[in-house]
């Protein structure tokens, strides 16, 4: 590759940075540095990603044959439940906000830290305590209610370890709330001079919207699951009809949080994409204020659509019609973003660096996920495909194809900032493509299976569905390779990677104006911002030619 032929300037690692400022386990476990806490989160969400991934692997192996040959039906129920709980509550929800958001928001707005550094550390410990409860539940009897904890199964009939699990998720909720609160206050009060609201990176706007959802929504799920626990332990009648409760009330309360929660997962990822695209298209983002505003719109409208998960529960026809209509509305701000990203590409000088491959992957997969969401929001159609593999494929396209792609892409994009080192570019591109191929092979067959009527959460299926199921399992093994590769070479690069320098791409954000890795205080002097976001032309400090076509970015040579 011609990467090596570029006259790459030789960079040296900074003498002192946040990684080597202090040493020892204590200096990490008691740190209040947002960058170190981000790395603590990186480690712990990765553990849960592995646990959830292990369960997923077992599910896919089990489904290789129509009768399933790996586990008993009871264990199968536990596998998909524990997969969902680990992935959603302990990996996907904290992933981008608590890792990348934590690391980057203060850097992006020119602050020394978050507004409440100790609360930030506390939120990590709360996450750990909640995680331990859930692992205890997994280890002592497991959990078989589905990640949705529907009553009265969860509150009365299930024989699995529901109580520790709901307590764990209740506790973990406070970690989310504290993170959201910290971000909101930080963004309001700690922006550097000149960093006006409309100069904020779109990543920050996305996290602002996410934080609103975290702060407003999380208390509802925490209390709702606590009520399940109380009903289970003390037979108080909230959801059990025999005790005067109402099981559908549980679904209202659960989805009142859990639909907005899907936006907790996808909004930060959209923020990542909004940073990557202008950098590797060498153009200001198209429609800055529309992208910023659509984040807020998604957060608000996202609260108005929850009962589209309940079309077949016996909710009122009028409520179903209303929620169907409102669900269509939420597609508008999502589409605004997709159109703006594609318009940004138009006439850009595009390069195929690894983060950009992830961004392209995100756009395509999120598009499919979002459009199939509209299928599901269509009342008549949903009666047929509700609780089939179509739904499973829909949300995996958004959550894995969208949110996780954004997370891995973002890790690559900011890896040089986090560690000061570059990852091996060729290997990284191969991994990105592997991930994309593996993902589609895993989940596209599931759309077809669902459309043909294969229900979700069953441990067997009719023999005519076998071919598609085998394809899906084959895809999953490619997908697993696509995740293992980055874990290996990113770890490798921490020691052996080429030194990155402060701004390797180069990108326009404030976080690239300080050393890589940054010093503990982030900036030697408080920066002043006098440029517009994503403006490559009026930034001589980036070292790009001022007139004529802008040169393609760092590795962009094909």
């Amino acid at each position: 590759m011609s990467t090596t032929t570029l006259p790459a300037p030789v960079h040296k690692m900074p003498r002192e940075d946040y990684l080597n400022a202090t040493y020892g386990l204590r200096s990490w476990l008691l740190t209040t540095d947002h960058k170190r806490i981000a790395l603590l989160y990186l480690g712990s969400v990765t553990v849960f990603f592995f646990i959830g991934g292990l369960f997923a692997t077992m599910i896919r192996i089990h489904l290789l044959t129509p009768n399933g040959f790996l586990v008993t039906p009871e264990t199968y129920n536990k596998l998909f439940t524990m997969h969902g709980v680990a992935m959603i509550f302990f990996f996907l929800i904290p992933s981008i906000p608590a890792v990348l958001g934590n690391f980057l928001i203060p850097l992006m707005i020119g602050a020394k830290d978050l507004a409440f550094p100790k609360l930030n550390l506390l939120s990590w410990y709360i996450y750990l305590v909640g995680g331990c409860f859930v692992l205890y539940s997994f280890g002592t009897g497991g959990l078989d209610t589905g990640w949705t904890f529907y009553t009265p199964l969860s509150s009365v009939y299930s024989n699995s370890a529901v109580t520790p699990a709901v307590i764990g998720i209740f506790i973990n909720g406070f970690s989310s709330i504290l993170t959201g609160l910290n971000f909101i206050v930080t963004i309001h009060t700690m922006r550097a001079p000149g960093m006006t609201w409309f100069r904020l990176p779109l990543f920050v706007w996305a996290h602002y919207a996410t934080s609103l959802v975290m702060v407003l929504g999380t208390p509802v799920i925490a209390i709702t699951l606590l009520l399940v626990g109380l009903e289970r332990m003390f037979h108080l009648g909230f959801f059990n009809p025999a005790l005067g409760g109402d099981p559908i009330l549980f679904q209202h309360l659960f989805w009142f949080y859990s639909h907005p929660a899907v936006y907790i997962m996808i909004l930060p990822s959209m923020g990542v994409i909004s940073e990557i695209i202008p950098t590797f298209a060498r153009k200001p983002i198209f429609g800055y204020s529309f992208i910023a505003g659509s984040s807020i719109a998604i957060a608000v409208i996202g609260f108005l659509v929850w009962a589209h998960h309940m079309f077949v529960t016996g909710e009122s026809t009028y409520a179903a019609l209303t929620f169907s209509f409102l669900s269509y509305l939420v597609a508008i701000p999502s589409a605004v973003k997709v159109f703006n990203w594609t318009s940004t590409l138009y006439q850009g000088s595009i390069s195929w660096d690894t983060p950009m491959i992830y961004a392209f992957g995100f756009i395509g997969l999120f598009l499919i996920g979002g459009l199939t969401g509209l299928f599901l929001a269509c009342l008549g159609l949903d009666i047929h495909i509700h609780d089939t593999y179509f739904v499973v494929a829909h949300f995996h396209y958004i959550m894995v194809g969208g949110a996780v792609m954004g997370y891995v892409g973002g890790l690559h994009f900011w890896w040089p900032k986090i560690t000061g080192k570059l990852y091996p570019e060729v290997l990284a591109r191969i991994a990105a493509v592997t991930l994309f191929v593996g993902f589609n092979l895993t989940f596209f067959p599931q759309f077809m299976l669902g459309y043909m009527g294969m229900p979700r959460r069953y441990h067997t299926y009719p023999p005519e569905f076998q071919v598609l199921n085998v394809l899906s399992t084959a895809g999953a093994s490619i997908l697993a390779l696509g995740y293992l590769l980055p874990m290996l070479y990113l770890t490798w690069s921490m020691r052996y990677g080429r030194v990155a320098g402060p701004n390797p791409w180069p990108a326009t954000g404030l976080e690239w104006k300080t050393a890589s890795p940054p010093p503990t205080e982030n900036f030697d002097v408080t920066p002043e911002v006098d440029w517009e976001p994503y403006d490559f032309r009026n930034r001589p400090d980036l070292g790009l030619a001022a007139s004529g076509p802008l040169p393609a970015p760092a590795h962009g040579d094909d």
Binding site: L216, V220, H252, F256, L304, S316, Y318, T322
Partner: protein, 109 residues
């Protein structure tokens, strides 16, 4: 941020009002107002909660932005309650209207 000092007298008055509210709740619980039982209980509770937020939590003396946040949260809570209740209140309406006309309907027509 400057702290507003609230005089002990105001605290005492609020406290006594809250106690009176509690007494009213107890009193109302022993009388049957039919459909208004729940309305009265919730009205008293809301009144008391408002006092707590305004005086004990100092919302009355807080900056405008804090007050805005409180109002927005209440609005957001209303979304949850109204849309959930909208389901419960309209259940079965559709079905009964589409049901085959009963005899009495035919007679009236």
């Amino acid at each position: 941020m400057s702290e507003h000092i609230v005089s002990p007298k105001i605290y005492l008055v609020i406290f006594l009002t809250l106690m009176a509210g509690t007494a009213a709740t107890v009193w109302a619980a022993y009388h049957n107002f039919g459909a208004f039982n729940i309305v009265i209980a919730l009205a008293i509770a809301t009144f008391k909660a408002t006092l707590v937020v305004l005086y004990f939590m100092h919302a009355r003396y807080s900056p405008k932005r804090t007050q805005l946040v409180i109002v927005c949260s209440i609005f957001w809570l209303a979304i949850m309650l109204v849309l959930t209740l909208a389901d419960y209140r309209t259940r079965g309406m559709h079905e009964s209207r589409l049901a085959p006309p009963s005899n009495s309907n035919l007679v009236r027509a």
